[in-house]
């Protein structure tokens, strides 16, 4: 007979050999976890004796009673493979189901077989799709060597490749494709022209005459020279409208709308991808950085195959556990802090945070003034000696690099005084570094480096932010970025495998996924600012580009709207009016408050249910013990079973037995003598 731990009692020893326990509905559901639903048909439950599937008999289905089978037969059939038994057992299930199925009406049989075939088709399709996934083999190799933490970086890279590809496809199909196919489909292109303006002629830096070979290379690498008059740059799209035989294509409008569209698409895709991680973070206990159960039960990466990596993973787990236990002790200490100490700590933190903000502001100001100074000097064309000139030209870059170098060191010193918990420290430092992202750690130049995930992630987020800003002025930039990330993947992979050892500081896959996407979202937000500013405020060029005829890029939209029929115009104007915006905002706020309240209510309910569960468990144990007591007593009283050992249950003694007048037996027939405890 099997022993169920729900009824494991600490004090009186295991409850063995009790058929009651097996028949309890909760135990049945424990074994099979089936959702019972009345399918309405009667199925013959074959009472086959299933031999033990495994030597570890507690888990075999050998002791399932007949009653349980009958219960089962009314349930919806789940796919066979979801049963936690061996292949041989599942085979027997299949034969049993086939037997049962033969008895069903033909319609049901048809339905079942179609369901099975559809499932198989879906599995094949999924297998095929996953086979197509980019870099599947490489990522698996990395996973085997370094675990799932670093894997998250590479799958992040893969995501960015896809994102940039889609953005490029968008740009291409709406902006470049019409231009390319216009001559072939007999389209008529009207060009933009601004008359009477001084700036309407741009000769560019196109080289004339005999051009040296190496200048072509510099042009190719720097994007100047002959590249200026290609599809690469905004200036090439000096098209006003393309008149196709059937319709007119407004290219400036398309250009503007595609820009807005790709920003929007990126936003939605990132949010959707991070939604699962966000939900998990909400559900998880906010107090702990990572719960202990997650670390212990899900802590081991079973896909690690490298001996070295195993050793390192073990030591990193040990380190992590020790840190968390330490952190808990610290938290206890913090809770025990006196009022005075707390005030002191908060004051220190406030001062240091102000200091940090001051440092960052100083950095920005110095970069700004250096840039202005450098530009002024270059415009004034003061030529001093060579070195000073060089310094003036590269002054902004020098200042930026210095700032990037100094600030992380400063922050790491400061954070020591702020006395945060270690986990919070990491996140806070990363946030501060985002403002001044950098590639620090000059000391780690030789020997095997660790693959520093935060810095690498910040690098690619920085690159992606630049890409988002730049795509408005260079429609082919996403394609370049896609190729760049493609190469970065292979370069990083090679350097990882050959140079790096697994990180001693562990990086959790789940929370890092979410965190990378959050940082990317910040990058997107930062990218939106210059783009919107340049669309709305900066006067568009008079000489090149699609917006020559307009004052700002944004003006295309109102002009196009004014050409629409009256009713649609009125509708669009109403949608963009203040009244609509305010009411939309109010409704969104209300919805948000409702959802927050709902979440709070759910949390409360969950807590109540947990307490109830604990209480029910105790009730059950208590009742079972009383039951066993009563059974034993009656068994002793009846002459047959004198051999039953008397078990003492010291904890649940006769204080309750007075209330226990009747013995309730679920399975056995009532004893000859009336029960009396």
């Amino acid at each position: 007979m099997e022993v169920d731990s729900v009824f494991y009692t600490d004090h009186s020893g295991r409850v063995h050999n009790n058929p009651l326990l097996d028949q309890l509905p909760s135990y049945q559901s424990l074994l099979y976890r089936r959702k019972s639903s009345n399918s309405g048909t009667k199925r013959r439950s074959s009472s086959r004796g299933r031999s033990g599937s495994s030597g570890s008999g507690k888990w075999g289905v050998s002791t399932v009673s007949r009653r349980e089978e009958k219960q089962k037969s009314q349930t919806v059939q789940r796919p066979i493979r979801e049963l936690p038994t061996t292949v041989a057992e599942k085979r027997r299930h299949v034969t049993q189901r086939l037997e049962e199925a033969r008895e069903l009406s033909s319609l049901r049989q048809l339905r079942q077989s179609t369901r099975r075939h559809l499932r198989r088709l879906r599995d094949d399709a999924q297998a095929w799709l996953s086979w197509l996934k980019l870099w599947r083999g490489d990522i698996r190799l990395i996973e085997g060597m370094f675990g799932t933490g670093i894997l998250s970086y590479f799958s992040f890279l893969r995501f960015l490749v896809m994102l940039n590809l889609i953005i490029f496809v968008l740009m291409f199909s709406f902006v470049m494709l019409p231009l390319i196919i216009a001559p072939h489909v007999s389209g008529n292109i009207t060009y933009t022209q601004k008359v009477g303006s001084v700036c309407s002629e741009y000769s560019g830096t196109a080289r004339r005459g005999l051009v040296n070979f190496h200048e072509h290379i510099t042009d190719l690498l720097s994007g100047g020279g002959f590249l200026e008059r290609t599809y690469l740059f905004y200036g090439y799209y000096k098209v006003d409208k393309i008149h196709f035989p059937k319709a007119t294509y407004n290219l400036p409008l398309a250009y503007l709308l595609v820009t807005i569209a790709y920003l929007f698409l990126s936003l939605i895709w990132i949010v959707k991808r991070s939604a699962t991680g966000f939900k998990r973070n909400l559900i998880q206990d906010e107090d702990r950085f990572q719960s202990f159960c997650n670390k212990i039960f899900a802590g081991w990466d079973f896909c690690i195959t490298n001996e070295n990596a195993v050793r390192l993973k073990r030591s990193s787990l040990l380190y992590e556990l020790r840190t968390d236990l330490e952190e808990e002790r610290i938290k206890q200490k913090i809770a025990d802090r006196t009022r005075k100490e707390r005030c002191r700590i908060y004051l220190i933190r406030l001062i240091l945070n102000l200091f940090v903000i001051g440092v960052l502001a100083a950095c920005f100001y110095s970069i700004y003034s250096a840039t202005i100074f450098s530009q002024k000097v270059q415009m004034d064309n003061i030529k001093e000696n060579f070195i000073v000139d060089l310094i003036y030209e590269y002054l902004p870059s020098i200042v930026i690099t210095l700032a990037n170098f100094v600030t992380p060191l400063l922050f790491s010193v400061i954070i020591n005084y702020e006395d945060y918990s270690p986990a919070f420290e990491i996140r806070f430092t990363l946030m501060r570094l985002i403002v001044n992202y950098c590639d620090c750690g000059l000391a780690k130049w030789w020997g095997q480096q660790e693959f520093a995930i935060p810095q690498n992630v910040l690098e690619i987020v920085y690159g992606q932010t630049i890409c988002w800003i730049g795509t408005f002025y260079s429609p082919m930039l996403p394609a370049i970025c896609t190729m760049k990330y493609f190469f970065i993947f292979y370069i990083k992979k090679v350097s990882l495998i050959n140079n790096c050892r697994p990180a001693t500081r562990p990086f959790r896959a789940s929370s890092s996924n979410f965190f990378f996407l959050a940082v990317l979202l910040i990058g997107l937000a930062l990218a939106c600012v210059p783009v919107t500013f340049s669309m709305a405020q900066i006067n568009s060029s008079h000489a090149c580009g699609p917006f020559v005829n307009y004052n700002t890029s944004w003006e295309v939209l109102p002009t196009a709207v004014s050409e629409l029929p009256d009713r649609i115009q009125k509708l669009l104007l109403a949608l963009s009016s203040e009244a609509f915006a305010v009411s939309f905002f109010v409704v969104t706020c209300l919805a948000m408050f409702y959802v927050i309240a709902l979440a709070g209510a759910h949390k409360r309910v969950i807590n109540q249910l947990r307490e109830q569960l604990a209480m029910e468990g105790r009730d059950k144990r208590f009742l079972i013990q009383k039951l066993c007591q009563a059974q034993r007593l009656s068994a002793i009283k009846s002459p047959v079973s004198k051999s039953q050992p008397r078990r003492s249950s010291p904890s649940y003694h006769t204080s309750f037995s007075n209330n226990f007048n009747e013995a309730v037996f679920l399975a056995h027939s009532p004893p000859a003598s009336s029960t009396h405890v």
């Binding site: 731990s5 599937s53 570890s56 493979r81 299949v94 997650n294 212990i296 081991w300 959790r508 896959a509």
Partner: protein, 189 residues
């Protein structure tokens, strides 16, 4: 029914596809790797049982601290020596595959972590589990005090009915809230 010689029949293949979470390519690869473990005479016998020592030479299992428990859990031999037939091997890969359900994974994880096979995770099981994770030598173990604190924390988080042990449903409940489990409980050939 079992594997015969070195070729896997078509019906057997589709049957295995239905009974496990593995795709056709994965089953064929598993068959290939399994037959590599067999000696020459064993290759002709159907339903050969490979002893645990040979299974543990597979690179995917060689460095896994839970390798012995894995073989023990998936073995169907009466002697409980951890030997696996091909179907047991498929069971193993199916439970550890990408497409296995959380329920299956947590069920088998529970059995693997249950070192004394009594159906619950009590303090002894948890202690052995932690030692498996951190290392077997003295320098790599937690001190008794730390271990006690850790086990208390685990039980506090997962033991709902407060009986001092973690049973299957409590374990599955904790796992369902654990975000890293599905991605880490994976073995792919």
């Amino acid at each position: 029914m079992g594997t015969t010689a070195s070729q896997l029949g078509k019906d057997l293949l589709s049957e295995y596809q239905e009974l496990t979470f593995l795709t056709k390519q994965e089953i064929l690869l598993a068959h290939k790797r399994f037959t590599e473990l067999l000696t020459k005479d064993e290759k002709d016998l159907p339903n050969t049982r490979v002893p645990a020592e040979r299974i543990l030479t597979l690179p995917e299992l060689k460095s896994n601290p839970f390798r012995k428990r894995i073989c023990h859990v998936f073995s169907t031999s009466e002697q409980k020596d951890g030997s696996l037939t091909f179907e047991d091997f498929l069971d193993l890969l199916s439970a550890f595959s990408d497409s296995a359900t959380l329920e299956i994974k947590s069920h088998y994880a529970f059995r693997i972590f249950d070192f004394d096979d009594d159906g619950t995770l009590d303090c002894g099981d948890l202690e052995k589990l932690v030692n498996c994770l951190t290392g077997e030598t003295d320098e790599t173990r937690l001190t008794t005090e730390e271990m006690r604190q850790l086990i208390n924390n685990i039980l506090e988080e997962s033991d709902i009915d407060k009986d001092g042990t973690v049973n299957l449903s409590e374990f599955q409940h904790v796992i369902s809230r654990s975000p890293d489990f599905v991605s880490s409980f994976k073995i792919v050939l």
